[in-house]
């Protein structure tokens, strides 16, 4: 299991790494409110898929659980969990919480 602060830490850590790779310093300074996807956001669709893939790997290492963060259900939510860094951290905690015990 991950706590909300741990999940946010993973997201911000990954955003910073991606920011260095993509040459986007804004991502290295990311916080709860950083917009990820959508208008005026930092990532395009490929960037978002990359972020999610790396996060899924981080979560597998941290918890031993294989999670899928981007599925049809997540995509069809009224408030996209991929809009802001903080919402993505919420989504990680909720996804792990909804999984049956290992």
């Amino acid at each position: 299991m991950l706590t909300r602060p741990e999940a946010l830490q993973l997201v911000l850590h990954r955003l910073a790494a991606l920011g260095r790779e993509l040459g986007k310093p804004e991502l290295e300074r990311a916080d709860e409110q950083t917009r990820l996807f959508g208008e005026t956001a930092q990532l395009d669709s490929i960037g978002l898929v990359t972020l999610i893939a790396d996060l899924e790997e981080d979560i597998r290492r941290a918890t031993g659980r294989d999670v899928v963060l981007a599925d049809e259900k997540a995509m069809s939510r009224l408030t996209s969990p991929f809009r802001r860094a903080g919402l993505l951290a919420d989504h990680i905690v909720a996804t792990l919480g909804a999984m049956p015990p290992a």
Binding site: E21, L22, S45, I46, V49, T50, I52, A53, A70, M75
Partner: protein, 444 residues
């Protein structure tokens, strides 16, 4: 009727023909084994063309039996590899006799007493032609049995100029590429060297021991050979490396040319359905090729390569022949790129195309970049489902010893971002102990 190839074996006399775990066998000894097989066949008193499975590797007995069956107008089904697959294949072709070979020896075992019923085999029998049956891995998992005129196939080797460059047998005895190596080497009077197994160590040992000059191999094997960092002296006898069976990433070709500056690299191209052809490479550092064999016609239809050859198979025994057009063209399923000067490049299989949010790519373009990243030993690229982009590019990476995953992941993405369009950059990077199968394995 004595076949030209059997006569040629007798004429080459004391020259070495085959070397392997069975020792070194001369052409004269091989001619003797062909005689033995002829006598065993005659003793059966067969009155009509009959189907024989020949089980073994590139050994003297197995080779002798294939040639004896071809000249007697029978149907030969060479089998090797995993024996667990043999019963299904024997049943698929309704094999009547099994020749189980082991190096120099062979046992003839009866299986069933029913004449060949399939129309394709009956048509060959009606004109006195021998048949060769090979299996390909069908896309559905059920092997497809392909039948061709064995004599016509062998005839394509008759005009080859003699030489004595030893050749390594790396591709399977039940594979068109492996048989192409076997018959092509026997026809010119050269030595065929059979390694103990297909590991890099066994192949290098066989090359060093028999001064092998010609190595027909897959790009996957050549990549492993480079990774093994074999001392150059072990491979000093190599003059020609032919590569085929899967697309060659150009970055791998460049590394190979740097590692083997004295070796000529020749791309072969072929399919089980149409036979194997040598190609001309207009530029040494590129995998563009020209098909200019008089026995082969080709054209590109909607990015797919179509072939029509004199030696193509008569058809499948157990599958529809929908990949052959009414006028005899074979749709290869290979996606190719055509250059202005008419040279073509094989990009991969049509089914391997990855579609990322409507933008398309072939795995080999990405693999060529990833293979050149320091710390990467091998890789495979594939499309995996994505809720965001339909498919996404996933790469499985085999790391060299002592490499850090995060460092290589980052270097890999940076290399791809600087050299590839954004949709081709792998989003998922998985580190694995080994990658499955051949690069872009063909499913024919």
């Amino acid at each position: 009727m004595i076949s030209w190839l059997a006569s040629r074996c007798a004429a080459f006399g004391p020259r070495p023909a085959l070397a392997g775990a069975f020792g070194v066998v001369s052409f004269a000894q091989l001619a003797g084994l062909i005689d033995d097989a002829r006598r065993s066949l005659a003793a059966l008193g067969l009155v009509q063309p009959t189907t024989f499975a020949v089980i073994g590797g590139h050994g003297p007995a197995a080779t002798a039996w294939l040639l004896a069956l071809a000249e007697a107008g029978h149907f030969a089904v060479p089998l090797s590899g995993n024996a667990a697959e043999h019963p299904a294949k024997l049943a698929e072709v309704n094999v009547q006799w099994v020749v189980a070979t082991d190096g120099l020896g062979g046992n003839l075992l009866p299986r069933m007493d029913e004449p060949p019923a399939h129309a394709l085999l009956r048509a060959l029998a009606a004109r006195g032609a021998a048949g060769l049956v090979l299996f390909s891995s069908g896309t559905s998992g059920r092997p497809k049995a392909m039948v061709q005129d064995f004599g016509a196939m062998l005839a394509t080797y008759e005009s080859r100029r003699p030489n004595q460059l030893p050749v390594l047998a790396l591709l399977g005895f039940d594979h068109i590429g492996g048989l192409n190596t076997l018959f092509g080497t026997l026809a010119v009077g050269a030595l065929l060297v059979v390694p103990a197994d297909r590991s890099v160590a066994a192949v290098v040992a066989a090359i060093a021991r028999h001064r092998v000059a010609v190595l027909p191999a897959s790009p996957t094997f050549l990549n492993l050979l480079l990774a093994a960092e074999t001392p150059g002296v072990e491979l000093a006898s190599l003059r020609v490396i032919t590569y085929g069976t899967e697309p060659m990433p150009e970055s791998l070709l460049l590394r190979l040319r740097a590692a083997f500056p004295r070796v000529r690299f020749i791309q072969t191209f072929g399919t089980s359905e149409t036979g194997i052809y040598r190609t001309e490479s207009p530029d040494v550092d590129s995998t563009f090729l020209r098909l200019d064999d008089p026995g082969l016609e080709w054209k590109v239809v909607a990015d797919e390569l179509w072939l029509r050859s004199r030696t193509q198979i008569a058809g499948y025994l157990n599958d529809s022949n929908e990949r052959f057009t009414a006028d005899g063209w074979f749709r290869t399923g290979d996606r190719v790129e055509t250059r202005a000067d008419g040279a073509i490049r094989i990009l991969g299989r049509l089914g391997e195309q990855i579609n990322v949010g409507g933008e398309k790519l072939m795995p080999v373009e990405v693999e060529a970049v990833v293979l050149a990243v320091p710390g990467v030993l091998d890789c495979r690229v594939a499309g995996t489902p994505s809720a965001l982009t339909g498919q996404t590019v996933t790469v499985d990476v085999v790391l060299a010893a002592g490499q850090d995953e995060e460092v290589v992941r980052s270097a890999l993405r940076s290399a791809c971002r600087s050299q590839l369009a954004p949709h081709k950059v792998p989003t998922k990077v998985r580190f694995v102990a080994a990658v499955a199968g051949e690069r872009l394995k063909k499913t024919r």
